[in-house]
Symmetry: C2
């Protein structure tokens, strides 16, 4: 499904350069369930931004469904994101002036799904993460873990073939966390490709493959033996 070759991302701050990604090569097939782990600052979110077509590398290649992403215009990238990729951000990134329900329905607006269907799918997604009684709250009226679950519901409602989750259980108690992992497992059983960044070895062991990062480079890449 996707392949990156010698991916580099170098940030310039003033005179200094930071190599957030320092030559990453990997490939992930359709239907895989992958965890990405590594120390704080090792480049995990930066890689997720590349894979999610939210940012471009400084050098190297990203091939998604056989097409070279670096050749795409910004508009084409936006269309790929809206149609094929669901992103759960490390900072949730909910729109502060929209309710949970409106936030969750928003990707479906971009896809032209009719209003009645959007509302039904958004409600169902929120109920599946236990937020059925928080639908009309603004993000500021939700707890940290509720905001995180709303961000997860937003991806569920749009049902994309590729799900990218950046620390999707970081603000959840163990029970809410395992409910979310049950949802991911169910999606993967249906053939959806899932890539999760996590600091939690327990969460990573529930996926099928663990890639470890260090200083912008891959340190290891192993199948999970359950």
């Amino acid at each position: 499904l996707l392949q990156v070759k010698d991916l580099q991302k170098i940030y310039m701050t003033g005179e200094n350069s930071v190599a957030a990604l320092d030559g990453i090569s990997l490939s992930i097939d359709e239907g895989e369930y992958v965890a990405i782990m590594g120390p704080s600052g090792s480049g995990k979110s930066t890689l997720m931004n590349m894979l999610g077509c939210l940012d471009r590398p400084t050098s190297g290649q990203y091939i998604l469904s056989g097409e070279d992403v670096s050749q795409k215009s910004d508009d084409e990238l936006a269309e790929i994101r809206n149609k094929y990729i669901g992103f759960i951000f490390q900072g949730f990134n909910l729109l502060p002036k929209l309710t949970a329900l409106e936030n969750v329905a928003l990707p479906l607006v971009y896809r032209g799904v009719p209003a009645k269907q959007r509302l039904a799918r958004a409600q169902e997604a929120l109920q599946s993460v236990g937020l059925g009684n928080r639908m009309h709250h603004l993000p500021a009226e939700l707890s940290g873990g509720q905001q995180q679950r709303a961000a997860i519901a937003r991806v569920l409602a749009s049902d994309p073939p590729l799900v990218l989750g950046d620390e999707p259980t970081g603000n959840l108690d163990s029970r809410s966390g395992s409910e979310v992992m049950d949802i991911f497992q169910k999606l993967n059983n249906e053939g959806i490709t899932i890539i999760l960044v996590t600091h939690d070895q327990q969460i990573a062991s529930q996926t099928k493959r663990i890639i470890r990062f260090r200083d912008g480079m891959m340190q290891s890449d192993e199948k999970v033996v359950s």
Copy 2:
């Protein structure tokens, strides 16, 4: 040091009311090291906002160092916060237009600490959490865990007698997380009172007392037997 009696916080959203805190009573002595755990949405951050003088209860009492906080004006609360309380927020709450160094030095500005000393203390605090080479980055130029560590450094630089940490290790790998816990242990050994909200049983077991919440009420309150 602090005592709350029958604390209630009721939010109104439209016609519905949410009892985020539904009658909390507890007392914490100087020098204690307490963990607060509980399901997502159970009221932990709401309690922390009360204890940190960032918000007022709907009813009930909060007595801090022998004084009834509910009798204080907003200006007096701000002064208490600036002088005595260090807060690590669940969402970090760094100011986006200030560098890590400026963010960490800011509480010292409010306290009238001279510029040279402020810079020295802020630099030292950032180095102690491993951000010595990220001081001049803006929050958007930091990873999630680096932002969290900058928020921790901000509290360390101002060295307050009461530290409130809302999920301070939620975005950290296990090694960065244990470095942060070493810092908290060192502070507590010096007599600083520390209250941490955490979803991580491993983190909670490193404190001396665990209070568990459920639906805005206290479910249990136990000493940690190591």
